[in-house]
Symmetry: C2
Subunit: 239 residues, 2 copies
DNA sequence: TAGTGGTCTAGACCACGAG
DNA sequence: TCGTGGTCTAGACCACTAT
């Protein structure tokens, strides 16, 4: 007979281990069997068990240490994969017509505060750009951005009249590190006007910085009308 | 001579491929060599190249499809690993003294709106809990929570007078799926009072739902004073 | 020092999906 | 249809760290 055994997948092992954790066979803090033992239990190779455990560890549900073994995490921080969408994609995916308007663009030099944000010396050349992203004509995001001209000199030649800094940077200046800070805030007078905010309506602010080869390339403050903006994150451990 | 070749690690391949992408050797949209070709280039096995590419694909910087090959992503959504911290940990890590106060606890039944949120029928038994988390005596998070008693019957016997639902659920009721919705909002009168908000100060709201075996276990609205709350996410592709 | 996870290799078969 | 990624195996050596 050649209807031989279907091979066990790392997904099977993942699901099996997860099920046992959820069922409290292995409560928080419990020590799991070694990779070798699990491989035997499930009838797979150690490499397969390893991949299953590695992926579970990445989600934070288990913790692994050499020699000490693998344990069910005691208190798992609510790790969530968040996707901060590109403004244009986000608007178009929602069925809206994307609009863009440049407000201001000028070269400047870093003051003390900006020097800190850019991890550089005061006086460093920066490009300042302010613009608005609209959905069906309604303001959706106010973008206030600085670009380090040392790191991205090409920006000095880009007018940003038809292309947003957002998209231009994505195409022209790849980064290898990114930081997001999410806050709620009361709008200043300018934001209130430009975003056409209702009375008492706050803004949802995303502050973003990107690095390239250790240097800050750009810093931006992206503010959105609270009533029309939300970030959603869904995580499915089983899948 | 036995100082034989040090083996090439998947990390080497990852770094090498990333560097070439950042250097625009392979611009957005470009087709990368096959796993086999890369393995030869780098002098490693195909499995090693595979792991490197798989991990890069997970971050969204490249896209892989059978038969079509591997391409540099055209527009990468700003994927970010966000960690929503446990209130208590967050406060204590910041050096504050954690405080907890139960405000209200009562059993109830799902009305139409709650039935939708719980993906169940109206009338389903729920436990309603409202409480406050404090840092050095100052309000830090107002937690408004419903727990499905069908899914977590043990909650009916827990007074929640000393342990927050947050922590209790973490220990007692594991979940396999979680959803977060982040918004900014103007506070209602109750939030303003309980969170001791300044005039015009908005709240940062995290709405969280967790599932277990396809059923919603709990839904919570966690609101924080905007002036004292932020979420931070940092991602380093190179590392 | 010994045990556990971390990783690499060489070879193999399979599944998807572009052309 | 057939090339590319997806995955499994068996075996091996290494690196970290608890004891």
């Amino acid at each position: 007979m050649n209807a031989s055994k279907p091979l066990i997948s790392y997904k099977d092992v993942k699901a099996g281990v997860l099920a046992r954790i959820l069922r409290r066979d292995w409560p928080p803090g419990a020590l799991l069997p070694t990779e070798e033992a699990l491989a035997q239990d499930f009838g797979c190779s150690r490499a397969t068990a390893n991949r299953a455990l590695r992926e579970l560890a990445r989600t934070g549900i288990i913790e692994r240490r050499r020699r000490a073994g693998t344990r069910v995490a005691l208190s798992r921080p609510e790790a969530a994969m968040l996707t901060v969408p590109l403004v244009r994609d986000e608007i178009e995916r929602a069925g809206g017509a994307y609009g863009y308007a440049l407000i201001e663009r000028r070269e400047t030099a870093a003051d003390a505060a900006l020097a800190v944000r850019f991890e550089t010396a005061p006086g460093a050349p920066l490009l300042f750009v302010r613009c608005l992203h609209l959905s069906d004509g309604a303001p959706h995001q106010l973008e206030t951005r600085w670009i380090a001209l040392d790191a991205a000199p090409a920006a000095a030649r880009e007018p940003f009249e038809r292309v947003s800094p957002n998209e231009w940077l994505l195409t022209e200046t790849p980064y290898d590190r990114i930081e997001h800070i999410l806050t709620a805030a009361a709008p200043d007078a300018d934001e209130r006007a430009r975003l056409a905010l209702g009375p008492g309506e706050p803004v949802f602010v995303i502050e973003r910085r990107t690095w390239r080869a250790g240097a800050v390339v750009t810093a931006a403050r992206l503010s959105h009308p609270a009533s029309r903006f939300r970030l959603i994150s869904r995580t499915d451990w089983a899948a």
